[in-house]
């Protein structure tokens, strides 16, 4: 696979490490949320046949974490964003 890195252009997927569902960005606040919320965050994932937003780490490259929108049926990649931008847009900060 080729991943269109937003900064570096198309890069071979072999340069990346896959983590999984981009929902891992939405980590609960550990000072407020309890075990139930963390359990759901950590263990409950969707496994769609179709579009999936997932985290890839450019380990053999610039160390960016990316959110890649991929069709799990065709492997078509519809979008690749810097995870940092996605996290900021989702209200994550400090």
């Amino acid at each position: 696979m080729l991943i269109p890195h937003p900064l570096l252009g198309p890069r071979d997927a072999q340069e990346f490490v896959y983590l999984g569902d981009a929902a891992l960005i939405d980590r609960p606040d550990g000072t407020a949320a309890g075990i139930e919320a963390f359990h759901d965050y950590l263990y409950l994932r969707d496994n769609p046949a179709g579009q999936h937003r997932e985290l890839w780490y450019h380990e053999q490259g610039d160390r960016s974490w990316l959110v890649v929108t991929r069709d799990t049926v065709t492997h078509e990649i519809l979008k690749a964003e810097l995870a940092r931008d996605v996290a900021l847009a989702r209200g994550r900060g400090r």
Partner: protein
């Protein structure tokens, strides 16, 4: 003349040169341009192999990579390569080829007894027969079947040749250099696009080399050669002969195997035998041609029976007659070309048996309409053919070769690699590329079901023009050369009905029409079930000649259409790939990179023994003269360290520089304990959890300045921790002002431990490092040896007064030499990982065996380090009920009650008298060492309710090693539990 069956003229072979080779020890001759099969046929050899199951005598069925029968072993010794297709192997002077799957000889094979008992060996025989008794399977049935199964044998020796991998990029990849591929490459090449033209053959031209058909009013092979010459001169086009595109992968990535040196006695110096290419293509044209299929009739597998197109190729391309008296059995117009071509070349064609009742007859030949072959005879090769005329009358004709054509199947395999679904085309009675398939890949020519030369040329040009337009590359449509455009005119005949005897469908796997009927009777009617039940379409040829007729026979039995029956999905690779090509250079020592520490050269000079730690080679111990057992060296290193001072290279520990105004806050979130309160110039032991509450890693982190920290990780987790920290920084807390960089390889770091550690270091470090100036857990920048910048940490893994000192990696060799020199008066030793392990187990520090990815801080006795006053990764879930059981595993020490008794790591802890069953298992020994200080074995262990059991006696049982030892449970701190030494 190279053999009695070589025709006096013609052929794309160099008759001026003779190449000598052997087959089963017999000498033969051929010419450059010959394959092993063509040269053997020229030499009168038809019998080239024995079939897989029944050991039937077999000859070549085809003239290409689809060959199911003529599999041989090439070369000898370590270079022997089994299961190579004689039909594609190029001969060279000195080639040794050997037949397979026969004993004692190809002509007399004792295993052919299987053929006599064939009624018992039908499809499903193994599944049904070797069921009972179950215990016979492993001991008797499987070894017997394994001995009988398989074709060629591996040499068992390491392959002496190199293999490589490479990467290439192009606008257009053209797969196949027949008329369609050449026209596509010409169109794109002239337009200036970057083109790769790959062809599995050593001679580009595809089917044009095997035909007498004209293109642009010249012989097709000459036209192909002229186009190839033009293409070869284009700087933007790369011609890759002997290169098979084996698979279409995601996003326009194609795998291809180039046989660089298979046609040579051995690879030239510095060159690989094969290269596995990864080709990144923006667009691709599949011009892989088509494969002819046989017709199933009794005795259709005898040597001498071959595909009509192959017979024509042997005559036209290699100037070899398949026999003296040749018959043909065809159901389509293309098969008649063989009759005409052979007659033209002076080969006697005794009969053309044409299953089609209607139509004109070939002039000057005995062309029998509406006839079918019902039997053949000849033990090791065809002697006669029995046919049934349209009126039912039978006739036996003497013939030593029979060409069969049942139609052609497009080579659409690559279009199926992305869930593409082939479509059944009634007009040519074959599957053609259907919807789906790899984006950017379009089929042209016979691969797309266009069977005429004109169709190939026109579609090759069209597909290339479409691809170029897609890419925005301006192109001009080259004139189409004049070529034949004959219709296929086929009447489907899959197998000859009403004839007795075994009719073969898949010759490689010995699948007959009867086996298909049996699969139907047992309801294995789906295409995939049929394959698995009968083995139709398995093994090296993947059923390229047999699949469709097998499916058609099944369709006939079920009453469904072939389209409804469907076909199995072709998967990569298109043709067999040597494991060596897939491995490339990743063999032996080059399997993975080796990382050397800065003291490696020094340690080598000392005769150190090294151990692999991940990619690293670390010093395990350094034997001294007279030491004959590793324990002598390790015991000495441990005792000398505790008595005076020892030095150890710890450069392999992960080192991460963490900077920024929020670095402290960041560390508070990634470590379970608190760091933001740590003063500048101090370091702290930290424990890092995974989000599920399990301990991930541990190490010390020092604060070098208000906003500058340096973290250490374990050697094993250096990469994973850094990845995790980047995840936390970028995905979880993107607004924190914190920056990370891995400096693992930037610093050489040595531990200096023991009562004389400070005195030794005072000779190296330029600053005051007295206990008052540099107390326990101090950290900071210093200089050494009169000005070299360095970092000093007063931390201890051994329990002794200890420091770790780091200098830029390029000074690591110098520093180890300086430390050893400075320690000479103190009898300083350099210790390796074994002594390191002994020292830390004696002190009760957790490491590899304890940091096993299953245990919490509580299990490790570090529960109080987990701060619940802040948000940190893993803290919430570490509080789950299952992880906080008071009776759960706790870290303890273990020693044998009898000091002379040994302990075994991995042993399980049981109550005295408890039965040795899993329910009574209370824990296990994670790390075991011999403590020279205490004079007996000691171990760390996880034990249920461990703290409460300290002082009690248990049994350490190891069922694998067959050991059982009475042990006492102790504190994990065997030495200096109060920590007085390290604060000294």
């Amino acid at each position: 003349m190279s053999g009695p069956f070589r025709l006096p003229s013609g052929g794309l072979i160099d008759r001026g040169r003779t190449l000598r080779f052997t087959f089963d020890g017999r000498a033969f001759a051929g010419h450059p341009g010959d394959t092993l099969a063509s040269a053997l046929l020229a030499g009168g050899v038809r019998l080239m192999g024995r079939s897989f199951k029944y050991h039937r005598p077999r000859g070549p069925l085809s003239a290409g990579s689809e060959e199911p029968n003529a599999l041989v072993t090439l070369r000898s010794g370590a270079r022997a390569e089994p299961n190579t297709r004689a039909t594609v192997a190029e001969i060279y002077d000195g080639l040794q080829a050997t037949s397979q799957n026969r004993w004692p000889s190809l002509r007399f094979d004792l295993m052919a007894v299987n053929d006599l008992i064939h009624p018992f060996l039908a499809a499903g025989f193994y599944y049904k027969t070797f069921m009972w008794p179950a215990r016979f399977w492993e001991r008797l049935y499987e070894p017997l079947i394994r001995r009988a199964a398989g074709l060629g044998r591996l040499s068992g020796e390491a392959d002496p040749d190199g293999y490589d991998k490479g990467f290439r990029h192009c606008d257009l990849l053209v797969i196949g250099a027949g008329p369609a591929g050449l026209m596509a490459a010409l169109t794109a090449g002239r337009a200036g696009a970057r083109v790769i033209l790959a062809d599995e053959d050593f001679l580009p031209g595809g089917r044009l080399n095997a035909e007498r058909l004209e293109v642009a009013d010249m012989p097709g092979a000459d036209w192909a050669a002229a186009v190839v010459a033009e293409l070869a001169a284009l700087p933007n086009l790369r011609l890759m002969p002997r290169t098979t595109v084996i698979g279409a992968f995601d996003h326009g990535i194609y795998g291809a195997v180039e046989r660089v040196a298979d046609h040579l006695p051995e690879p030239p110096p510095g060159r690989p035998r094969q290269v596995l290419w990864r080709i990144y293509a923006r667009r691709a044209v599949l011009a892989a041609g088509a494969t002819e299929r046989p017709i199933a009739f009794p005795g259709n597998d005898r040597p001498g029976v071959m595909l009509a197109g192959a017979m024509r190729a042997y005559a036209n391309r290699w100037a070899v007659a398949a026999g003296r008296r040749v018959a043909l059995f065809v159901n389509n117009e293309d098969g008649l070309r063989t009759a005409a071509d052979l007659a033209e070349r002076g080969v006697e064609v005794v009969a053309v048996i044409d299953a089609r009742p209607e139509g004109a007859r070939l002039p000057g030949l005995r062309h029998l309409r509406g006839a079918e072959v019902v039997a053949t005879a000849g033990r090791l090769g065809l002697r006669s053919v029995t046919l049934r005329h349209s009126d039912g009358r039978r006739e036996t004709i003497a013939a030593d070769a029979l060409g069969v054509s049942g139609g052609w199947n497009p080579n659409l395999q690559l279009t199926v690699h992305h869930r593409g679904r082939p479509r059944w085309d009634e007009a040519i009675a074959a599957f053609v590329p259907g919807p789906g398939g790899p984006p950017g890949l379009a089929a042209a020519g016979a691969a797309a079901g266009l069977m005429s030369t004109h169709g190939a040329l026109a579609s090759g040009r069209a597909r290339a023009l479409e691809a170029l337009a897609d890419l925005g590359i301006a192109a001009r449509a080259a004139d189409l050369p004049r070529a034949e455009d004959a219709p296929v005119s086929l009447r489907p005949v899959w197998h000859v009905a009403g004839a007795r005897g075994r009719a073969w469908i898949d010759q490689q796997n010995d699948v007959t029409v009867k086996d298909i009927a049996l699969a139907h009777a047992e309801n294995f009617t789906g295409a995939e079930h049929l394959k698995r039940y009968t083995t139709l379409g398995m093994a090296t040829d993947q059923g390229r000649t047999g699949n469709v007729i097998g499916l058609a026979v099944m369709a006939g039995l079920t009453g469904r259409s072939i389209a409804e029956t469907g076909t199995t999905a072709a998967r990569p690779p298109y043709t067999p790939v040597a494991i060596g090509a897939l491995a490339g250079r990743s063999r032996g020592k080059a399997f993975r990179p080796v990382r050397l520490t800065p003291s490696h050269r020094w340690a080598e000079e000392q005769g150190a023994v090294f151990v692999e730690a991940g990619l690293w080679l670390r010093t395990q111990y350094i034997p001294r003269p007279g030491e004959t057992h590793w324990r002598q060296s390790v015991d000495r290193e441990v005792l000398a360290t505790r008595a005076s001072v020892g030095i150890c290279d710890v450069s392999t520990l992960g080192k991460i520089d963490i900077q920024g105004a929020d670095a402290g806050a960041f560390l508070d979130r990634v470590y379970a304990n608190t760091f933001s309160t740590l003063p500048v110039g101090r370091c702290r032991y930290g424990i890092m959890l995974r989000e599920d509450g399990i301990v991930f890693d541990d190490g010390t982190t020092a604060r070098l300045a208000e906003d500058e920290w340096v973290m250490t990780t374990t050697t094993a987790n250096a990469v994973a921790v850094f990845r995790h920290l980047e995840f936390c920084r970028q995905c979880l807390w993107p607004a924190l002002d914190v920056q990370l960089i891995s400096t693992t390889e930037a610093w050489a770091q040595y531990s200096v431990a023991g009562p004389n550690a400070r005195r030794l270091l005072e000779r190296i470090v330029d600053q005051d490092i007295s206990d008052a100036a540099f107390p326990y857990m101090a950290a900071g920048r210093v200089t050494v040896c009169g000005g070299l910048r360095a970092r000093l940490f007063r931390i201890s893994f051994s329990g002794e007064l200890a420091y770790e000192i780091a200098v830029p990696a390029r000074y690591g060799d110098g520093l180890i030499r300086a430390l050893v020199e400075a320690g000479r008066d103190f009898d300083a030793v350099v210790y390796g990982t074994e002594a390191l392990g002994v020292l830390r187990v004696e002190k009760g520090h957790v490491a590899g065996g304890e940091l096993n990815g299953q245990m919490t801080a509580l299990n490790m006795g570090l529960g109080r380090m987990v701060s619940r006053k802040k948000d940190a990764i893993g803290v919430v879930l570490s509080g789950r009920e299952g992880l906080t059981d008071p009776g759960g595993h706790r870290l303890v020490g273990v020693r044998p009650v009898d000091p002379s008794a040994g302990l075994t790591a991995g042993s399980h802890l049981l109550e005295p008298g408890a039965a040795k069953v899993a329910e009574n298992d209370l824990g296990w020994l994670t790390s075991k060492v011999y403590s020279p200080h205490l004079g007996h074995d000691i171990a760390l262990a996880y034990l249920r309710g461990g703290e409460a059991r300290i002082g009690s006696r248990m049994r350490a049982v190891n069922l694998l090693a067959g050991t059982e030892t009475e042990v006492e449970i102790t504190s994990p701190h065997f030495i200096d539990p109060q920590g007085e030494r390290l604060r000294g």
